[in-house]
């Protein structure tokens, strides 16, 4: 859901002029793209906006008893190829016991190719290599899974356009290897105008809805629709996590900083 995005386009379009909008709209309704085009575009909007990006992220995890935990980190991202490999830094700022720990990911989309992951622990000056893990485990103890944050490869599922409303495409995604995941399928409601995934619903093996991810706030940043608040709800545990993005910047022109040097000491631009 990283730097994932959305619908302010609608607003923009309204402002730009109703006539133009109307024409575009009519054209859009006439030909619905095929499902592969839809999911490919949505994937790019959600995870590959611009060539690189930076954001401050605040997570609020609320368990069913109402107890809150907070995570704050800075994310730096650079795409190797649109829809393909990517590199990430996550600089932790809160809570205090993980402050200044840094996590680096070289994400690989090829099937059966695991991501490379490192963790730097400043208190002992150690660069640890993290073994590739089950991508459907919690990211930093939140209700977001590693895969929600880094993106699920489109090749993992078969995609089916189940319905088209005035504003959204509804796509049903069924895993090709069902025993590797805890869901039987999930649906994504994608905004027709800008291809921002607005809501994901996960159904368990009995076909019951148990988990949702919703894009609650979408802003246009540097002309790119950007999800700035998303919320995941775990209906089974009663826990939810809000993730808010602030100070989002795109195309900051980062060099290839995703190496040990900057893992040990972030580039200054990243920390400002």
């Amino acid at each position: 859901m990283l730097l994932k995005t959305n619908t302010i386009h609608l607003l923009l379009i309204l402002l730009c002029g109703l006539a133009v909008t109307g024409a575009a709209w009519a054209a859009g309704a006439a030909d619905v793209p095929d499902v592969q085009t839809i999911v490919t575009k949505a994937n790019i909007v959600a995870y590959y906006q611009a060539d690189d990006g930076k954001a401050n992220v605040k997570m609020t995890i609320t368990d069913k008893r109402g107890q809150e935990r907070n995570r704050e980190f800075i994310i730096l991202r650079k795409d190797v190829a649109d829809g393909g490999d990517q590199k990430y830094f996550v600089y932790f700022q809160r809570p205090a016991d993980v402050r200044r720990m840094t996590y680096m990911v070289h994400k690989h989309v090829g099937i059966d190719k695991d991501d490379d992951r490192w963790l730097y622990m400043p208190a002992i000056d150690r660069v640890n290599r993290i073994a590739a893990g089950d991508k459907r485990t919690s990211f930093v103890g939140s209700d977001f899974l590693y895969e929600d944050v880094s993106g699920r490869s489109l090749d993992e599922d078969t995609h089916e356009l189940t319905s088209t409303t005035d504003t959204q495409f509804i796509v049903k995604n069924t895993p090709k290897k069902p025993d590797t995941v805890e869901f039987s399928y999930f649906t994504v409601a994608i905004d027709r105008k800008n291809y921002v995934p607005m809501k994901m619903e996960f159904f368990d093996k009995e076909g019951k809805l148990y988990r949702t991810i919703e894009s609650q706030k979408v802003e246009v940043i540097q002309e790119l629709p950007t999800v700035t608040k998303s919320v995941v709800q775990d209906l089974k545990t009663g826990s939810k996590t809000e993730m808010e993005f602030t100070e989002v910047q795109y195309n900051i022109g980062m060099g290839d900083v995703f190496e040990e040097r900057y893992l040990r000491r972030p580039p200054r631009e990243a920390m400002r």
């Binding site: 809570p95 490379d116 002992i124 000056d125 290599r129 893990g133 089950d134 930093v140 103890g141």
Partner: protein, 432 residues
């Protein structure tokens, strides 16, 4: 009765800890004057308060029953300036075992990036490299074995160095140079709070027979230089290392056999780390050139050695990771060692084999971490177990229980000598 006294002491300490934490939380809710002071200086201020209490699980006739009893405050100051960064981190603690107050400056350094291809860090700093997990071949930066064995946080296994580290980043490889003008030894086991096998006494010894050492204190004369040349090739991390300094823990005795010494040591090595199958594999090798006993015939000084390590880590279940390592120390010129070892002294084996197993499981939304680290030597027939359970009750408050368990067939092997130091501890930490 001893046991009930222990229980009372632990309960009192934990009550005090909880009390101070409640106060600390209250204090945080209001405006913290220290925090606002550092805010004005454009300096980040963080740290923690911690209470830690532990006891031996058996009697040790050479040491107290209490293995650790301390209240600790760590401050961590960081400031980003135009020219670079300043970092100062220190611990103040009351030590109930040694009955003293201690200030331990962990870091005080300046960091700068003077050019696109160079980083410099000067001052007191913690330095680490190499691929081993709690096994060190080419990482010859100081370790604090005492803290490790008494159950302080694992952060304290690494002792700081007073050094300058220069890193050069080139297309063909990167180079780190760490220069320490005055030798920084390990904080080694000296009998102070961990009883040990005293080779000259031929018996277990403790606080009444601490190991006296000839320190090396000649600034710029008794110095250390460590190098690492490394490159990432398709995410396989390759490195070669060099070290010119001294055995980090005592590696011999003086001629009068009164004091332990730190003989000269050069080390040359290499390592590799990367994806292997579903997990991470690592391999490391080092040649320890014991300069003062190159022939191996001086019974008072360590022989040269070869050290080998292979390791593999994999996730074996959800939030459940296992890591295995196999490590060998090979004494070189072993026949010379055998020929010259005084009769009656227990002899080391030519090969010391050591395996480690790390199991880590996260539970309760990753707030509970259960971990077990095991060292087992089939050649020494000794074991060191480190079970730890750490629970994050909130973002600020964590509780930990753990144990350091040693056993072995012989009183003089690496871990066997510490058998009577087997201990268990509890800790409460409030981080801010």
């Amino acid at each position: 009765m001893m046991v009930s006294q222990r229980v009372v002491a632990v309960v009192l300490m934990l009550t005090a800890a909880c009390g101070s934490i409640v106060l600390a939380q209250d204090a945080e809710a209001k405006e913290d004057p220290i925090q606002s002071f550092f805010d004005k200086l454009d300096t980040e201020y963080h740290g923690f308060y911690e209470m830690r209490a532990g006891y031996r699980l058996q009697n040790d006739r050479n040491e107290k029953d209490m293995s650790i009893m301390e209240g600790r405050y760590q401050f961590d100051l960081f400031s980003m300036r135009d020219w670079g960064d300043i970092k100062v981190k220190g611990d103040v603690y009351g030590d109930g075992v040694m009955e003293e107050g201690v200030f331990d400056l962990r870091e005080a350094n300046l960091f700068a990036r003077p050019t696109d291809t160079m980083d410099v860090k000067v001052g007191r700093q913690v330095l680490t490299w190499g691929t081993g997990d709690m096994i060190f071949i080419n990482d010859l930066f100081p370790k604090d074995w005492q803290s490790f064995f008494i159950g302080r946080d694992v952060e304290y296994l690494k002792a700081p160095s007073d050094a300058a580290k220069i890193s050069l980043f080139m297309d063909w490889a990167n180079l780190d140079i760490a220069y320490t003008p005055e030798f920084d030894s390990d904080r080694f086991i000296s009998g102070e709070r961990i009883s040990y096998w005293h080779p000259m006494m031929g018996a277990a010894a403790g606080e009444d027979n601490t190991l006296s050492t000839e320190r090396r204190r000649e600034f710029f004369e008794e110095d250390e230089t460590a190098l690492r040349l490394y490159k990432n090739v398709n995410n396989y991390e390759l490195a070669v290392y060099g070290y010119w300094g001294y055995w980090k823990s005592p590696g011999g005795f003086n001629q009068a056999m009164t004091d332990a010494i730190f003989p000269e040591l050069y080390v040359y090595g290499a390592s590799a780390r990367g994806n292997v199958g579903k997990g991470i594999g690592n391999a490391e090798i080092g040649y320890y050139d014991s300069v003062d006993d190159r022939c191996g015939d001086d019974p008072l000084i360590n022989n040269s050695e070869m050290r080998y390590l292979i390791g593999y880590t994999q996730e074996i279940g959800r939030d459940f990771t296992a890591g295995l390592q196999y490590y060998v120390e090979q004494m070189l010129d072993y026949s010379d060692y055998e020929d010259n070892q005084p009769t009656g002294m227990p002899k080391r084996d030519e090969f010391r084999h050591l395996t480690t197993l790390r199991l880590t499981k996260l539970l309760m939304n990753q707030n509970l971490r259960l971990s077990l680290f095991t060292y087992y030597s089939p050649s020494d027939e000794d074991v060191y177990l480190r079970p730890i359970a750490n629970y994050k009750a909130s973002d600020n408050l964590s509780v930990e229980v753990g144990s350091n368990i040693f056993f072995g067939d012989e009183a003089y092997t690496f871990f066997g000598q510490f058998e009577d130091n087997t201990n268990a501890y509890m800790a409460v930490r409030y981080s801010f």
